[in-house]
């Protein structure tokens, strides 16, 4: 196996078994915060010394979550809730739920009543008039509230320097992902679509 194939296999293994990755973090004594789709301020989680963990559901039969979501709800949300109710995310310190779509708005109460207090919800509200001064101020205040909640969960203060370092790290990471995406697009013979998906999912 060449180096690219070997690396892709590693990404594939991580993407195929998020539970294993979660257990790895937890057994290492790290605190983990679940991040639902899309646009959670992961930088704040990292700045708090915790691990942001993407929740993307699974391909599975939904049973318990059907008591909360109607069948025509987005399957990603149904299966995230299903996994939550079944205890697959046990050990996570909290889940962040961005209220960016109508089904995510219902995820907030459905998670609180379905999974209950063992994993608390941190709602994430973004201003939709995001470029105005009022919109920027509102989102900033929301992020400050989330910062305080994360400080409570992690048991440590988040400094401005912590945030700056996390932003720097994420900028580097995202630049690398853009570079990978462009390179993978140029070389489909080396990186198949499922492999590309696994790289993004594992990230």
């Amino acid at each position: 196996m060449n180096r690219i194939a070997s690396l892709l296999a590693d990404f594939q293994a991580i993407a195929a078994d998020p539970k294993k990755q979660l257990e790895k973090y937890l057994s290492a004594g790290k605190k983990v915060v679940g991040c639902m789709l899309y646009f959670c301020p992961e930088e704040l989680v990292t700045a708090a010394g915790m691990v942001p963990f993407g929740l993307w559901g699974a391909e599975m039969i939904v049973t318990n979550a059907k008591s909360y979501f109607p069948s025509f709800t987005c399957s990603i949300l149904q299966t995230i809730l299903e996994l939550g109710i079944k205890g697959e995310y046990d050990g996570i310190s909290a889940v962040m739920v961005p209220l960016l779509c109508d089904s995510l708005k219902s995820m907030d109460p459905n998670w609180r009543y379905g999974v209950k207090k063992k994993i608390p919800v941190i709602p994430v509200t973004h201003a939709q008039n995001r470029k105005t001064r009022a919109g920027i101020e509102f989102t900033t205040l929301q992020y400050q509230g989330i910062r305080r909640q994360l400080e409570e969960l992690s048991g440590r203060a988040i400094t401005d320097e912590d945030i700056a370092a996390a932003v720097k790290e994420y900028n580097r990471h995202r630049a690398m992902m853009r570079r990978f995406s462009a390179a993978a697009g140029r070389h489909p013979e080396l990186v198949s679509l499922p492999a590309r998906n696994a790289v993004f999912k594992s990230s």
């Binding site: 008591s67 025509f72 709800t73 219902s106 939709q128 009022a134 509102f138």
Partner: protein, 412 residues
């Protein structure tokens, strides 16, 4: 003040309200013909802005509901699907997409807009719907973003954000329409809107009497004005007359419900406009009257000052935090002495339907009532089954009967 017709007879409030709703669309047509700029407006956009500035607007949601009630829902939804829109989208939006493309509709026509006024306190689908229109028609879109409440009350951060958008929207509307803002008129509009809201709430609350002095379906027919014209004197007067009429019905022991009120229920969700007649007749024939809906509080914006006005637009159903949504229903169900609840799992409305199963459990738990859920859609008849509706209603009646029998046994 009670208006009279040419024969000197009192015009019933129901008719006055119908005429006021029609007048809103008529005035928009007339303004359009005069060359004025007219807008399309989301149902829970702060109407205080447009009323104060005298800007004519029409409401695509109300238009879609009317098209649905008149039998055009499926045709228009299928047209939108043929354009490439998903059948999973809100049927109000699909009807509107179809109407915008065709430019006319046999059920009801409204003038095409020169600008769009969007507010997402009812759902985020509104934003994508109106962005789509703005792109297709190449016209300005003004959005007042009212974030869903995560806590029981609207905090100062939200109030400040909404108020800044309110001010920004007024400036942009002045540029678009050439009309001006008058602070004194705004205060007057606020006063009238409050008067309308209180009168509407008062009228709706007469359902606490047994039997109710009105049929619950009257709410579906009368609520349009509470949405589109509550800042006008004539709306306030018509709602006050409606409350007076219901009060008189209570005193005289009469009701607009055509049948014997054997059971009283809470109806959760938007009406199935395409099956309004069928659902009305079915419930009436079983002796079921709707005495509780969210439409009373939904269109009652109660405030004493500008900050409270901003907060009031956060307290609309679907923008509230879940616990506040539950409390509204439980209090109303108890006040209106309901025997059960009928819950509409509305395929169109992901925001409303997404939390209905837990809402159902909380209603059972906190109001102590039996509930049934039926599948349907606000405007697309393909998601509704007459047989399922009847089966669910019969099941509810069985439980309500059993509960009544047990209660009587306890009292003996």
């Amino acid at each position: 003040m009670t208006e009279k017709n040419t024969s000197g007879e009192k015009i019933p409030a129901k008719q006055r309200l119908k005429e006021i709703a029609e007048k809103v669309t008529r005035e928009a047509w007339e303004a359009k013909k005069r060359g004025e700029k007219i807008g399309w407006c989301a149902s829970n956009f702060p109407q205080e802005i447009t009323t104060t500035m005298g800007i004519p607007v029409v409401y695509p949601e109300n238009h879609a509901a009317a098209v649905g009630a008149k039998g055009g829902g499926q045709r228009m939804c299928e047209y939108a699907e043929s354009m490439g829109y998903s059948s999973d989208l809100c049927s109000y939006s699909c009807i509107n997409f179809a109407f915008t493309d065709i430019g006319e509709c046999q059920e009801l026509n409204i003038p095409l807009p020169d600008f769009l006024l969007c507010c997402n306190n009812i759902c985020n689908c509104m934003i994508k719907w109106y962005e789509n229109l703005a792109f297709k028609l190449d016209i300005p879109l003004l959005l007042i973003d009212i974030p869903r409440l995560s806590n029981f009350t609207c905090d100062d951060d939200r109030i400040r954000y909404i108020r800044a958008q309110f001010d920004d929207c007024i400036l942009k509307l002045q540029e678009i329409t050439g009309k001006t803002w008058d602070e004194e008129k705004f205060k007057k509009v606020m006063d009238i809107s409050l008067r309308s809201s209180k009168a509407w709430l008062k009228a709706v609350d007469y359902a606490k009497y047994v039997p109710s002095p009105y049929s619950g379906f009257d709410i579906f027919n009368n609520m349009a004005v509470a949405c589109v014209a509550r800042g006008t004197e004539e709306a306030a007067e018509a709602f006050e007359q409606l409350a007076e009429e219901y009060e008189a019905n209570v005193k005289n022991g009469i009701t607009t419900f055509k049948g014997e009120e054997k059971y009283r229920v809470l109806f959760e969700g938007i009406a199935c406009w395409a099956y309004l007649g069928f659902t009305y007749r079915t419930l009436r024939d079983f002796g079921i009257n709707i005495t509780s809906t969210i439409y009373g509080p939904a269109f009652s914006f109660l405030y004493q000052n500008v900050d409270e006005l901003m907060a009031a637009y956060s307290y609309v159903p679907n923008c509230n935090c879940f616990e506040r949504e539950v409390e509204l229903r439980v209090k109303d169900a108890i006040a209106k002495k309901v025997d059960g609840a009928i819950i509409h799992m509305n395929r169109s409305c992901k925001n409303w339907s997404g939390k209905l199963y837990e809402l159902e459990r909380q209603l059972r738990l906190q109001a102590g009532i039996p509930t049934v859920v039926f599948d349907g859609d606000q405007c697309d008849p393909r998601a509704f089954s007459e047989a399922q509706f009847i089966t669910r209603i019969k099941a509810l009646i069985e439980i309500m009967e059993e509960n009544r029998r047990k209660k009587e046994e306890l009292n003996e």
